[in-house]
Every structure is written in C-alpha cells, then in structure tokens.
C-alpha cells in the first residue's frame, strides 16, 4: 500500500502542488505563445503529456541501464575491454545531458512519423505543436527530475523505479495541460476587455499567470496533510 500512496503523492505533487509551469517556470514559452484559444491549448497540452511520458520512460531506461555508475549494459560492454573490477566502476553520468536531449529529439521525431502514418486525425489535431516540443523545457525538466531521483540520492533504496518515473511524466504533463487550458480560458475572456495599451499581449498574460500562481500556492502543504491522513501518522 505504501507504494500506491507514494505514486499518488508524486502525481498530486507534479500536477497541482509543484505545477511545472506555475511553480518551476518550465514551459513558459508555449504557456505565453500558444494559450490564445482553448482548443489549441488542449492540443498542445496533450502533445506535451504524450511526449513527456515517452521521454521519461526513455530517460529512466537509459539512465538505469547505461549511464548510472555500475549500470549493467555499460559494465557488460566494458567487460570486453578491461578487467571486471575496472568495468564495474565505469560512470557515464557526464553524458546525461547530451543523451537526454538526443533521446527527446528522436522520440519527438518518431512520434510524429508514427502518428502521421497511423492516426491521421490525431496528427491533424497535434498539428504544428509536435516539432515545437523538442525545445520545450518542461520535457527536459521532467527527465532531469527523474535523473536526480535515481542518481542524486544518498540512499540507493529510495531511488525511483519505473512506475514512479512514469507517474511524474504523466501527471507533470497533466499539470501543464491544466495550467495552459485555464490560461487560454482566461485569455479568451480578456480579448473582450479594455486593457491599457502597454499591457496588451505578453504583459497581461504574465500578470494573469502571477495571479494563477498565487491561486496554485493554495495547494501548498496538501501533500504532507494527505500523507498524514492516509498513513495515520501524526
């Protein structure tokens, strides 16, 4: 049961409490650029969620199998060239950034080709958003968070498994979708308002974003409260 609580808390925290856009400021560019209409925002949000889940899966697999100190695949490959003790100490973490950005770019490319071939209506609704996602900071941020929870921790037992990583990817994307769709809804109404000229465009969007961020701060502490309620601990 602890495992399910853990997944639940990670999901809530990624989607609401530490919302990617409003708390960590990643993915601000589409948040301001593509939040003009609700249907566009929904398309962007679902494309990001889709790619983020795939990218998190890829980066978790690559990190555990190849990049980590003493990872099985790199140890097996290095074992052909050097002694077993030396091969066990091999550490490729320095390559993480290059590998991550490369895996994100190629997964975006693959997803685009696959969806275009097999799901043409879906491709039409994703439209131009898919290629833009490669340079979306939110995806790389999700991969880096997963990495820091695999490698960075002092206690190897607390390292995240695939389930936790996927929960972060899926609900991080859901949080992004929530933020961008709320924003698009507000901006559709803003079009009817009389805004002072200097504030038109990005400036008013940022200020509305600030007010939204204040609203989302209301979720602070929900995770520890839920944890206490669910586990019965004081």
């Amino acid at each position: 049961m602890d495992y399910i609580f853990d997944i639940f808390l990670i999901s809530i925290s990624a989607a609401l409490i530490n919302n990617f856009v409003l708390y960590y400021f990643v993915g601000i560019c589409p948040f301001i650029g593509v939040s003009r209409r609700v249907d566009m925002a929904l398309g962007m949000g679902s494309a990001v969620t889709f790619v983020m889940t795939i990218a998190v899966f890829l980066s978790w697999t690559i990190t555990t199998l190849v990049l980590m100190p003493g990872a099985p695949v790199s140890r097996w490959v290095a074992g052909h060239f050097m002694s077993a003790e030396k091969a066990a100490g091999i550490d490729l973490t320095i390559l993480t950034y290059i590998i991550y950005i490369f895996s994100i770019a190629s997964s975006v490319q693959f997803v685009e080709m696959y969806v275009r071939k097999f799901y043409p209506p879906l491709y039409k609704s994703f439209g131009v958003f898919l290629p833009l996602i490669t340079t979306n900071c939110a995806i790389l941020f999700a991969c880096l968070t997963v990495m820091s929870n695999i490698i960075g921790g002092e206690n190897p037992i607390e390292a995240w498994d695939l389930g936790r990583a996927l929960a972060l990817g899926l609900f991080g994307g859901a949080g992004f979708t929530i933020a961008i769709v709320i924003m698009a809804g507000i901006r559709e109404e803003l079009d009817l308002c009389d805004i002072p000229a200097p504030f038109k465009g990005a400036a008013i969007t940022l200020i509305v974003g600030g007010i939204l961020a204040m609203a989302f701060m209301g979720f602070n502490g929900v995770d520890s409260g839920l944890k206490a309620a669910l586990t019965g601990a004081p």
């Binding site: 409003l22 708390y23 960590y24 400021f25 990643v26 993915g27 601000i28 560019c29 301001i32 320095i94 390559l95 950034y97 290059i98 950005i101 490369f102 770019a105 490669t134 340079t135 979306n136 900071c137 790389l140 941020f141 880096l144 968070t145 820091s148 002072p196 000229a197 200097p198 504030f199 038109k200 990005a202 400036a203 008013i204 969007t205 940022l206 200020i207 974003g209 600030g210 007010i211 961020a213 204040m214 701060m217």
Partner: protein, 208 residues
C-alpha cells in the same frame, strides 16, 4: 551578404534594440526562475553568456559544413556539450550556487536564445560578427535578469546581495521572492518597456 549587420551593429542590437528578454521574449524560464536573488541571477547570466559565446563561435566556424535539415540537431548537440562543461565547472568551483540553481543550468540547453542566435547570426556570418553578437546578447540578457532580480530581492527581503538597503522596519513582501512575484514583476516591467517605447515613438512622430 552585404545587407547583414556588421559586428558592431550586432553587439549594440543585443543590448537594447533587440534585447532577448524584453523584445524577443526568449529565454523566459531562467528569467522567471532564478531571479529571486541577485547572485543566482548573475551566475545564470554568466553561464548563459559563456555557453552562447562558445556555441556561436563553433557554429560560425562550421557554418559552411552544415546541412540545412540537420542544423537544429547540430546546434542542440553543440550547446549540450558546452552546457555540460559549464555545469561541471560550476559544480567544481561554486558548489553551493550549483546546488541552488539545480536543474536550471542543464535547462540552458533548451534556452531559445542560444538556438535563435545560432540560427539568425552564427550560421550566416563570420566568427567576429558571431562573437560580437553573442557578447551583446549576453549583456542584454544579463541586464534584464539582474534588473528583475534586484527589484524582487529589494522588495522581497529589503536587502540586496546581503546588504540591508531599505530600513529594517520594511515589511518584507515575501510574495516577491516566491513564484508569483516573478510573473508580476516581469509583467509590470514588460508593460513599462512597452509604454516607454510608445511614448518615444510618439515624440519622434511629432518631430518628423
């Protein structure tokens, strides 16, 4: 090729007329995320500047070898390499700062400013113009970042870089150093820049 800006024009353009943050609205993630204090903002600006300069020089040197359909991948991988170098250097010499900036240093890889400058300037012009452009854009980015950071830190804590600036009776506006403060400060500053702009163009219109 004669109509491309000279190195000096590139340098000046980066600082104000084409300021990456206020005019082009690029690189907003670090602009909002690390500006809760002056020190992290300065470190971030220097890190972005270093990566921008090195990436621009390399791309400018190999610009004749680039294939059009592969150029974005080459840009990204070049940038990722330099970001890894900067990240390791920060971790070695400024460990506390590297911990505080956390994931925002690796996120320089997907910072639109650098890809945009590689595309607009470095892949078309020689090394001199590309490096002048990088330095100008980096200064413009640094100015924008430190400006926002100074406002947020002074209003949020009454101090700047550890020096008490406002009287101690100042009720610290804690909201300014929390996430919403970033959005509000940047939104208001952006409106201010737009307003100054419109006033200036009105005056020029009257003279002409």
């Amino acid at each position: 090729m004669t109509n491309l800006p000279t190195p000096f024009e590139r340098f000046i353009q980066g600082i104000l007329p084409e300021n990456p943050v206020y005019r082009q609205l690029l690189g907003l993630c670090p602009t909002l995320a690390v500006t809760n204090g002056l020190k992290p903002a300065l470190t971030m600006a220097v890190a972005v500047g270093a990566v921008l300069l090195s990436a621009n020089i390399i791309i400018s040197l190999i610009r004749n070898l680039l294939k059009p359909h592969l150029r974005i991948v080459v840009f990204t991988l070049t940038i990722a390499t330099f970001v890894t170098i900067v990240d390791r250097l920060l971790a070695a010499y400024l460990y506390q700062m590297s911990k505080a900036l956390g994931p925002y240093i690796p996120l320089i890889i997907v910072n639109c400013i650098i890809i945009c400058r590689c595309e607009v300037c470095a892949s078309r012009q020689n090394v001199l113009a590309a490096s002048a452009d990088a330095v100008g854009q980096a200064i413009g980015f640094g100015l924008a970042l430190t400006g926002i950071a100074a406002i947020r830190e002074i209003l949020g804590t009454g101090m700047i870089a550890g020096v008490q600036l406002l009287p101690t009776a100042w009720p610290s506006w804690v909201i300014m150093v929390l996430p919403p403060g970033a959005f509000l400060t940047f939104g208001l500053l952006l409106a201010l820049v737009n307003w100054i702009d419109s006033v200036r163009s009105n005056n020029e219109g009257r003279k002409g």
